[in-house]
Amino acid sequence: MSRRFPRWTVALPVALVLGLAGCGSAAPAGSAAATPAGGAERAKEVTVFAAASLTGAFTALGQHFEAAHPGTSVKFNFGSSATLAQQIAQGAPADVFAAASPATMKTVTDASLASSPTTFVRNKLQIAVPSDNPAKVDELKDLADPKVKVALCAEQVPCGAAAVKALGAAGLKVKPVTLEQDVKATLTKVELGEVDAALVYRTDVIASAGKVQGIAFPEADKAINDYPIAALAKAPAGELAQQFVGLVLSPQGRDVLTKAGFEAP
């Protein structure tokens, strides 16, 4: 009753899939679009993995860089710092990594994929409330009121760790209704009025262009996030990677980042 197939019928598809996987390790997924083919062309392209909160500022800097280096293009992969760090650790062909926390950068430096990162900006938390501020929040301790619905980032992501630190410094116990997976999702809940308040970065409040209102609070100074940047050791773009990091650290770079709400370290 049992059917018999020659052994190669099983071996072939397995080999096929394994073969694809083999190609994959040379050009891993997740950044396939950023993979250049030839060596000459490779020097003309810089691939930057950057924390999602840097989206606006870095996109502007990318244009400056391309203007200053004709024929060069800058490609970005914005996302959660932790995810980006893992992609780099799994061999994604990135040239520059700009993380939202030293901890995520450490994943990369520990794997000897980058050395001596530089802190280039700092980001501070603010209380974000819907533009009409329905719960009349105006300082951090208002968040401890059980009638106020609060969204925080999950502790596993940098903005969540910062929130825990700030609330701890203020000696407050806040029971959030949700722990969002990233700062943008947290901000969305405020924009839609689903929560009365959230702790997000000052830069996110500025990027939201008036859809939410930001309230600064003194305890934010206890939970400042340092953003480190590093050119990666195996950067396919080589020298250009260093040049991009140079631009970010330059006065021009600082100017763009400050406008986006970041502070100088």
Binding site: T9, V10, L16, A151, P176, L179, T188, G193
Partner: protein, 270 residues
């Protein structure tokens, strides 16, 4: 004579290479990532990780919400499928297309859409809160709503297909025996399309169990109330990929066991 019978028995059973090779490649494609998870699983620390209370909490929440979402889909989806399959009304094609919207909509967008309607400031949500004091976002009920929104189309499509394939003359026979339309549906139509309903419910349940995007967007993410397994997996991935693998394996094992046992009992019945 014997040889002839033998030949007759085996010859039609041999599948052509053209089908066999891609079929096996497809199988490998689907199964190898699973093998990847198994290979990379931290087997030595597995028992300790599984014993952590948050794992059980998330698993229980996932099973409960997926099951309630499936029940809700059955309650609303089977009548909807019947309406689509058995009645003719203007715009039926359009309605059918709309039913499948959650299938193509990125779940995160579905979550935002749910917020816009059922959220605190949403069209219906506003009224729900002022009239009944009910808010769905950030509640376990919200998880059920998000899961049902994404998973119900699987049930509707499956049941509608079964209804269309069913022989309607049995319903006529029931009518000549004095059965009202409701009795016909309950005692003849439903039992006859039961395999389709079960298959649809199984698909629906599996989809609800794995739901991530709409849930995290609409219901948020809080341990014990809204953090289902997929959300726990995603968060674990941020800091502890090994924990994420463990959680995924748990989800996988539970669903495989449940689906396999259901399949034997229901779906393979003739």
């Amino acid at each position: 004579m014997g040889a002839a019978t033998e030949h007759h028995r085996t010859a039609p059973a041999r599948p052509p290479w053209v089908l066999l090779v891609p079929a096996l490649a497809g199988l490998a494609f689907l199964v190898l990532p699973l093998a990847g998870l198994l290979v990379r699983a931290p087997w030595s620390t597995l028992p300790a990780r599984l014993a952590e209370p948050y794992v059980l909490e998330a698993l229980r929440l996932s099973l409960v919400t997926a099951t309630i979402a499936t029940a809700m889909s059955l309650l609303l989806g089977v009548p909807l499928a019947w309406l689509l399959a058995r009645t003719d009304f203007p715009g039926r094609r359009l309605v059918r297309a709309l039913v499948t919207v959650p299938l193509v909509l990125p779940p995160v967008v579905g979550g935002v859409a749910l917020l816009l309607v059922l959220g605190r400031r949403g069209l219906v949500g506003q009224w729900l809160e002022s009239a009944f004091g009910i808010t769905l976002p950030f509640t376990t009920a919200g998880v059920v709503v998000a899961e049902a929104f994404v998973a119900m189309p699987f049930l509707v499509i499956s049941v509608e297909g079964a209804l269309r394939a069913a022989d309607r003359r049995y319903e006529e026979a029931a009518a000549t025996l004095g059965a009202s339309r409701w009795t016909v549906f309950r005692r003849v139509t439903l039992p006859m399309v039961m395999p389709g309903v079960v298959a649809g419910a199984v698909l629906c349940w599996a989809r609800a169990l794995g739901e991530f995007g709409a849930t995290i967007t609409f219901a948020g993410n809080f341990p014990g109330t809204t953090r289902t397994m997929p959300l726990a997996v995603y968060l674990a991935l941020e800091t502890e990929p090994e924990a994420a693998i463990v959680l995924s394996l748990v989800l996988l094992a539970v669903s495989v066991v449940i689906l396999a046992s259901l399949r034997d009992r229901w779906v393979s019945a003739p």
